[in-house]
């Protein structure tokens, strides 16, 4: 909230040009760009424990590190278990998973301190898990039948496309969410049951596997810089490039003359 007020006051300052230079000098004196690896926990995994009918548990840690300001190579690791007790079978799946990939910030940073992201990304996911089914019951004309499917080690490989946002709520603390579309590349074939849930992937029996992630992150402030990250050129974003061309040419300069404030106002339509 205080940050919003700050933005508004900055906007007002930009309008009144005599104050502009003064404000700018004051700003730049102690403004640094803080960077470092960001670690976080996916809160949605805990939520899903309570939202699902089946006894499902899990946790997931996520981490990323900025590269050239706009790229965020990401690692995600987690565990998941499902204990699904039903009338005619009792299914259990437990396992670990990991994902590697990268996010790319499609938003331009508005000033040195700005670390907010709207990102697209891709992941490769891998899971090792076991599954089994006990108390499998079936009845027909010939009578009742009881069996169990023994525990089996399974593997799965998949890919994900990610879209999401991360916003700095307090200094170095971020809240973020992402929406993911997943596609299974390969999984261990089990003649008795193809896994209906894969740790890290989710339900396999849906047409388009999707997932949400909602997390809180802490950026470890390992280093700081006065240099504004150079925005990569993007195809299909020419309208941004055009307006940003002068900035690209003398970015460091902009920090001093305050033309980034103009971007701040112009960039409002691009997101928060």
């Amino acid at each position: 909230m205080s940050k919003i007020l700050l933005y508004i006051s900055i906007c007002l300052l930009t309008l009144s040009s005599p104050l502009k230079a003064l404000a700018q000098e004051k700003q730049n004196a102690d403004v640094w760009r803080v960077e470092g690896p960001r670690i976080g926990v996916d809160l949605s995994r805990f939520a899903s424990t309570y939202l699902q009918s089946a006894d499902r548990w899990g946790w997931e840690l996520q981490g990323d590190i900025p590269v050239k300001g706009y790229w965020f190579p990401t690692v995600e690791v987690g565990m998941m278990g499902l204990n699904d007790r039903r009338d005619n079978f009792h299914y259990q799946a437990n396992g670990v998973y990991g994902r590697v990939g990268t996010d790319f910030n499609i938003l331009r940073y508005r000033n040195l301190e700005d670390g907010d992201l709207v990102f697209i990304g891709a992941r490769y996911g891998y899971s090792r898990f076991t599954q089994q089914a006990n108390d499998v019951k079936y009845s027909n004309f010939w009578g009742d039948y009881n069996t169990s499917i023994p525990k089996r080690n399974m593997n799965a490989h998949w890919g994900e496309f990610v879209f999401g946002m991360k916003g700095e709520i307090f200094k170095n603390f971020f809240l973020g969410w992402s929406v993911r579309v997943k596609f299974m590349v390969s999984e261990t074939k089990d003649p008795n049951m193809s896994p209906y849930i894969v740790p890290g992937f989710g339900k396999t029996n849906v047409d388009i596997p999707m997932d949400f992630s909602y997390g809180i992150y802490y950026r470890i402030p390992l280093w700081r810089t006065k240099k504004m990250p150079k925005a990569p050129k993007m195809e299909g974003a020419k309208h941004i490039d055009e307006s940003a061309t002068p900035d690209n040419n003398n970015q460091n300069n902009n920090q001093q003359n305050g033309s980034n404030f103009r971007n701040l106002r112009g960039g409002q339509s691009g997101g928060f």
């Binding site: 919003i4 907010d116 079936y138 004309f141 010939w142 049951m193 999707m210 909602y214 928060f272």
Partner: protein, 163 residues
């Protein structure tokens, strides 16, 4: 403020998605062998009764209607690798042994498991001429086969004097 709206929306969305998760079974889990009975040229099947062997008091099928090109769903044994039926055609009994292998497979999360059979062979008594397999895989969707399809066709060679 703007910053908090989107995360909140997503939490709501996640709740909605989690709750609308399909938990109803729309698939069949009843596995039956679809069998068609065909009589010889000179005679017709006027009545048909099918018993499961060792289940003498329980007739599975009782049909007194002409069964030309009619199909019957036959349940197969879950415990054993063979299933035997006594077929009373026009009042006289024949026995049909069906040999198979079985595997329980998960149909879906909501429906649970169903047996899937693979037909291996047959043996039968004298009035059955032959058994033709058109589909050796018997599963819960076998019963949904179109009208002119079946797993097996049983050809009878009924002596004319039984009429």
């Amino acid at each position: 403020m703007k910053k908090y709206i989107l995360p909140l929306l997503v939490v709501l969305l996640a709740i909605v998605v989690s709750c609308s998760e399909a938990d109803r079974c729309y698939d069949s889990t009843d596995t039956y062998l679809m069998a068609k009975f065909i009589d010889s040229d000179s005679t017709t099947i006027d009545s048909l009764m099918i018993w499961g062997v060792a289940k003498n008091d329980t007739g599975w099928v009782r049909d007194t209607l002409p069964s030309i090109s009619k199909r019957y769903p036959l349940p197969l044994s879950l415990e054993h690798d063979s299933t035997a039926f006594v077929l009373f055609v026009n009042g006289e009994a024949d026995t049909l042994f069906i040999y198979h292998t079985m595997q329980m497979k998960l149909v879906s999360e909501a429906c649970g498991f169903a047996p899937y059979y693979n037909l291996k062979g047959f043996s039968y008594t004298s009035r059955i001429d032959s058994v033709n397999i058109s589909d050796p895989s018997v599963g819960p969707t076998s019963i949904e086969k179109p009208n002119n399809e079946q797993n097996i066709t049983v050809y009878f060679n009924l002596p004319a004097n039984t009429q």
